[in-house]
């Protein structure tokens, strides 16, 4: 095994890590805000990939160009889900909340199969394709674009949450809803905003993923699983924790796949997760 291969794995892992981080950030934002786990998060990702795919297949618009539209569509989906479902189960028992978002996941996946069949599809000849060689290391261009795009999305989200008036109001609502409403913060609207932004994060990630990943109704599952691990690893509700955990998972996955066996890579990811849960149950940046 050469040094190049290891470096190659590390960089690939990092690239994928930023994508995981943005997906996890969307999930974490919603959880942190209202303590509801969106079990349909993977299906949101799947829909955003299909959105990018159909823009390409039907109108010849490259996923990179349709990215703002995909993100906006997902934000709209987030709003519809919030006002249509979540708002009605806010005070319901936790089991009802789990069933609601899990049911939504099953519904969306079945709907995608019904409308678009279970076939695997790909965007052929996207705007950015091929790979580059840097010092003997080969990197896929779409992967680089997706990674940089997700990192930018993540940075934007972080700045929004920590530096803007509305972002602070979101944090306040997450930390103490009653106190926030007594400051004049419309907490219902903050919840809706949280869903819109959380879904838009997935929209960005999915749009970018569609340039190098298969698009099919089940595609969300594995990404969602990794996102749940990232959120737990980083600490529930911590956005910065998602970045660290996402990158960590990306690295472990790539290096583990290389050093042991690719078919065991998830075993190592979940092993790492278990270790953290044992020794630091609140996650790396967790407050709970």
């Amino acid at each position: 095994m050469t040094r190049e291969i290891v470096i190659q794995a590390i960089i690939s892992g990092l690239l994928m890590g930023f994508v995981y981080a943005l997906i996890a950030a969307g999930l974490s934002l919603i959880f942190g805000l209202m303590e509801i786990v969106n079990f349909a998060h993977g299906e949101f990702l799947m829909l955003s990939m299909f959105s990018a795919f159909w823009f390409w297949a039907l109108f010849g618009v490259d996923p990179l160009y349709s990215l703002p539209v995909t993100a906006a569509l997902l934000a709209l989906l987030g709003l519809v889900v919030h006002y249509g479902i979540i708002r009605h189960i806010l005070r319901a028992p936790m089991l009802a909340q789990i069933c609601a978002t899990f049911g939504l996941a099953v519904f969306l996946r079945a709907l995608a199969q019904f409308l678009w069949t279970p076939d695997f599809r790909t965007v052929i000849h996207p705007l950015v394709e091929g790979r580059v060689e840097v010092l003997g290391i080969f990197l896929g261009l779409p992967q680089i674009v997706a990674s940089v795009g997700c990192l930018m999305g993540f940075t934007l989200l972080y700045v929004f949450i920590t530096r803007t008036e509305t972002g602070l109001a979101l944090q306040a609502t997450a930390q103490d809803r009653q106190a926030a409403s007594l400051m004049g913060i419309p907490t219902d609207r903050m919840y809706a905003l949280g869903w819109a932004i959380g879904a838009a994060c997935v929209g960005v990630a999915g749009g970018l993923l569609s340039t190098f990943y298969f698009v099919f109704p089940e595609v969300g599952f594995q990404f969602a699983l990794i996102a749940y691990v990232a959120v737990a690893l980083g600490g529930f509700g911590s956005i910065l924790g998602c970045l660290l955990a996402g990158v960590l998972i990306g690295l472990v996955e790539a290096l583990g796949g290389l050093l042991i066996d690719p078919s065991f890579k998830y075993l190592i990811v979940f092993g790492l997760y278990l270790a953290v849960v044992f020794f630091r149950p609140q996650g790396l940046f967790g407050r709970f």
């Binding site: 109001a169 409403s181 007594l182 004049g184």
Partner: protein
């Protein structure tokens, strides 16, 4: 200024407030007294819109507010400071205060109000960039009060402001109340200690098991035998 008429409040089937009426006039300091579980906080939550009464009405400056959401009520100049401070733990002192002035009417005067709050509690300025959870109990109470003041209230409602504070801090809070009231802000507060409450207020209301049992000038209440019965069970 504030007029509460015959409110009845329940949690599900369990009624905790029975036909309570009370009033606060402009410039007044009024205390709401009563043993644990007598419904004091519930009444506060109903006034500020966190809870809806099932009967009765709440009026503030002549307008009915008991059907309005809390984030609308605060805009009228009614600030409610919750029991146990409830500062935003993972935001800084400054961010907490800044959010206190979130609603449109307060937002225009934020910088100026912040300066006033820092003058009232210089300690908060020293702790400006600390996360709120790392403050001491007394500092958190100052922060909670300061955050409420940031909304530029005409009526300040404070739920148990002295709970768990050291005597020195209690004195500091009392002085702050005096200064706030001297600026023309009315104050309605909850307190379990009869002496403390009545020595600080013009008038008092005494609550027992969700019903008002006594009201009047603080001086008269201090010597009342009925007050002793409620609090000492005599």
């Amino acid at each position: 200024m504030l007029k509460v008429s015959d409110i009845e409040v329940s949690y599900g089937d369990y009624q905790v407030v029975w036909g309570v009426s009370l009033q606060v006039d402009a410039g007044e300091v009024v205390s709401l007294l009563g043993p644990n579980g007598s419904g004091k906080s519930t009444i506060f939550n109903t006034i500020s819109g966190l809870l809806k009464p099932k009967a009765g009405r709440v009026e503030f400056e002549g307008a009915r507010i008991d059907r309005q959401p809390s984030h609308q009520i605060v805009r009228r100049g009614l600030a409610h400071i919750l029991e146990r401070r409830r500062v935003f733990p993972y935001l800084t002192v400054r961010q907490n205060l800044w959010l206190g002035g979130y609603h449109p009417e307060a937002r225009a005067h934020r910088v100026e109000t912040l300066k006033q709050v820092y003058e009232l509690f210089p300690r908060l300025r020293e702790r400006e960039s600390q996360l709120a959870y790392s403050l001491s109990g007394g500092e958190q109470q100052m922060l909670a009060l300061g955050r409420g003041l940031m909304s530029r209230p005409k009526l300040l409602m404070v739920d148990e402001p002295f709970l768990g504070l050291s005597p020195a801090v209690v004195q500091e809070m009392k002085d702050a109340f005096k200064r706030i009231n001297a600026e023309g802000v009315s104050i309605l507060f909850i307190e379990q200690n009869v002496q403390v409450a009545l020595s600080m207020s013009h008038r008092g209301y005494i609550l027992e098991s969700g019903r008002l049992v006594l009201e009047g000038e603080s001086e008269a209440l201090l010597t009342s035998a009925e007050v002793k019965r409620v609090f000492l069970g005599g």
